[in-house]
Structures are given as C-alpha cells and as structure tokens.
Amino acid sequence: MRSFSFLLIAALGAGCGTSPDERPVSFEFVTLGILAPTCGQVQCHSTTTKTAGYAFDTLAASREALTTLTDDRSADSSKLIEVMTASGGSRMPPDSPLNEEDITLVKLWIDDGRMGL
C-alpha cells in the first residue's frame, strides 16, 4: 500500500513534461491522440453513435468528419475550432474541457495544411 501511495502521489504531483510541445502535428495524431479519447468516446462521436453525423474514433471516420469540419485556409474559420472554443452551450466536448495545448495543436495542424487528411 505504501508503494502504491508513492505512485499515486507521484502521479498527482506530475507536471511531468518539461519540454515544449513536440507531439506530431499530423492527421493521425490529431485523431488518435486528441479527438478519439475525448470527442470520440463511444457515447458521442464514435462510429457506433455518430452524434450529429460525425465520428472521431477511427481514422476513416475522422477523415470524413474533419474534411467537413475544418477549413483548409484557416483554423479560425473552422467549425471544429469554433465548437472547441465556444463560450456558449454549444461548446465541445460538452462534459469536460479540452486542454489548451490540444486545441493549439489542432489549430496548428489546420493552419499547416491539414497534413495527412
């Protein structure tokens, strides 16, 4: 139990990373690293439930959704970013906020030309 407590305390105290965000700015990472575990939960935008017609839990489904929800000219004019940063009841995900780092990476991916889409 003591060793377990150490593990938990270590986890709770973790700011963990020390480097700037070096995660891949790619379609695969945006989908499987950010959107699938948050927006793509089975009850929401999954291939099973497909709320509003969009799913993010697989690459194929996400490709279809992101083609519609992102604007190849600008992140700021993309529907995806609009709902992630909305200040009203349409904000997504509706159950739990996304980290700023994730929103920034998704924006960067769009502004970089939506690589891999």
């Binding site: 139990m1 060793s3 377990f4 407590s5 593990l7 938990l8 270590a10 986890a11 709770l12 973790a14 700011g15 963990c16 990373g17 020390t18 480097s19 700037p20 965000d21 070096e22 995660r23 891949p24 790619s26 379609f27 695969e28 990472f29 499987l32 690293g33 575990p37 939960q41 089975v42 009850q43 929401c44 999954s46 291939t47 099973t48 439930t49 497909k50 709320t51 509003a52 017609g53 839990d57 697989t58 690459l59 909305a86 200040s87 009203g88 009841g89 349409s90 904000r91 997504m92 995900p93 509706p94 159950d95 739990s96 906020p97 996304l98 980290n99 700023e100 780092e101 994730d102 891999g116």
Partner: protein, 373 residues
Amino acid sequence: MKSLQIHAALVVVALAVLAHRADAYPQYQVGRDVTCTGCHVSPAGGGALNENGIAVAETTAWRGGDGSFMYGWKTPSWLALDGDMRGAAGYVNPGVSTAAAYPMQAEVGAIVKAGAGFSIRAVGGLRSPQDGGSIAHVLWSREHYVMWQQNPDSSEGFYVRAGRFMPTFGLRLAEHIVYTQRFGGDPLYFEAYGLNASYISKAFEVHATGFVHDPIATVAEHGDGGALYAEARIGEHAAIGIEGKHSVSDETTMSYGGMTGKVYLPGPDLQFQAEGEVIRKDITAGAGDIAIQLAGYLMASKPLDHGLMLDIGVGHFTQDTRVKGLYRDAIDANLHWFMTSHVEWLLTTRIELLDGAGGPNGGYALAQLHYRL
C-alpha cells in the same frame, strides 16, 4: 434547428458523463470481508445479484423491503431475472454552465442455470441512438456469455466464461468517468468477445482474459488482446492488486500496467481504494508516435446511517509526459442513498482542474435515480 442541436448535445453530455454500467460497489469489499462473488453472479462483480447480494441490498437500504426481482416474482429454479434503469438530471460545466435531464440506462437480464455448474447469461437493453439510425440500432446486448462455475453453491473457486463481457481489470468502480477507467483501459462499453478464467477466494483472486473486439456491433474496444488482474488480501482489512492489459488494433497498440490498493479502517468505518496506472499509447498508423500517460485515483468511502454512503475521490491524468502541463485533476464527491433494496439515489459532483488550474476548469453536479427491477 439550433435548439434541436443544443438538445441533442445535452443528451450526449448526459450519456457521456453518466451512463453507468450497473456495477458493483467495491466500497463494500474489504470492510465487509466479501468477494465480488459474495454479492454478484459474475466473477468480475457488477450486474445481477445473487441471493446474498439481494439480502445485502435489503439490509443496507433505509427501507429495505423485498429485494428480489420485481418484489418477489416467482421464476423456475433454473431461471433468474434482473434489470436496471437509470436516469439523471443536473448541471454540467465544460467551461460554460448547462442544465440537462435525460435517460441513461434501461437493461433487462436473465441467467439460465443449465446444471453441472454451467449457466448462460444475457443482458439486453438500450444504448445511445445513432443520429439517423434505425430503432434496431438502439437495441443491443452488452453482455452474453456461457459460464462454468466450479462450486455453484459457493462464491469461491474457479470460474470460466466465454462470450461477450468486460475484460476483468482494475478496481471496476461503478463510476466510469473516473480517470483510471475512462483513460485507463476500462471505459464505458469496453465489452469484447473473450475467454476469461478466474479463481476467487477470500485470500486472493486472479482473473485472466483473452479478447477480440466485437466485429459486428463495433463499440469502444477496437483492439484484440489480453487482460490480467490479481489481488491478494493483506491481513484482515487490506488488499493489494496488480493489473495489466494489452490491446492491439489497426491504428493503436495500448498497454496498461498498474496497481490497486484497498484499506479498511474499522474504527471510523472508512474504506480507501486507490489505483495507479502507467499507460503506453503507441499510435501505429501514419508516421507513428508513442506517448506515456499516467492515471491515478484515490477514493474514501464512509457508510452513514439511514442507507447513506459518502465517497470522496481525487483523480489525476497526465495525458502525455512529454508535454509540461498537459494534465487534469478531479475532485469528486458522491452521496449514495440506498432508499430501498430497489431504489438508489445518487448525488454526484466533480470539480475538474486542467493544467494545475492554469487552464479551463469544468465540473458537474447531477442527481441520479437508479432503479433495480
């Protein structure tokens, strides 16, 4: 149209936040010196209650009453029936406040005892509708399996299951939004087809499962793999466990490893449960990427008078150890009221802090009604 979209979003929030499985209350385990099978039919706990589980429901509740199916419906000795319904209402805040009310779960189940320790278990019910999908899409069977039990008249011994069920892994709390479940390899609807062997005694239990994803009703688990959970009692009022899970899909390879701990303090009648996991997320599609994640949860539970039970929990999830600040913490408080042996009210609340409160914050306060048939 906009109000329709908002309404749909509220329903989704509700299902996302709340859709519980009808799981066990592990809060009882060490303090009451029982195993999951002391109260439940399944060796993993959760779902249908056995005879002792019904008796516990009757004695735990404020106004117990007849806890058997439909208050005493007679069924043949080879058949047992059960069912669960849940609904909730309240307030959620993902950065903005929203009120919502919604249904969550409606399931009925049956167990057919076939003799020689064999039984067949099936659960059928409703799930979130797909936008534009047919009514047939809403109906499904989350669990269906054949089980062999070495000692059908005892809660201890060997169990073998084949069919569709949740691979046995970790603490298996009823609250699936706990980070160690949501991000830790045991989220909602992660049932898969598999073969499970369990050995359960009061001194220790071991569960090993091999599984493949459901090729027909594709849900949350897209991978194939295995899960292992082993837990041993330490003295009279403590237990320690180890867990591991590996799942490989076309796009990711997920590996989970961790520990669980349970301690009961008889004086204050408090039970502590904790789980910590290290997760290796290997995105194998495209150029690939490997991230290490950490998930932890600590919960204290205190039974109170009049059928009440209070849980206070704290959770942590580091999404990627390479990125400074990419984590979230949660503080949970749940007040259960077992009003009768069939009716449970639950007030569940959470405050969620991102990036050490440097980022956006979230939370919810919801009242839930759980009715067991």
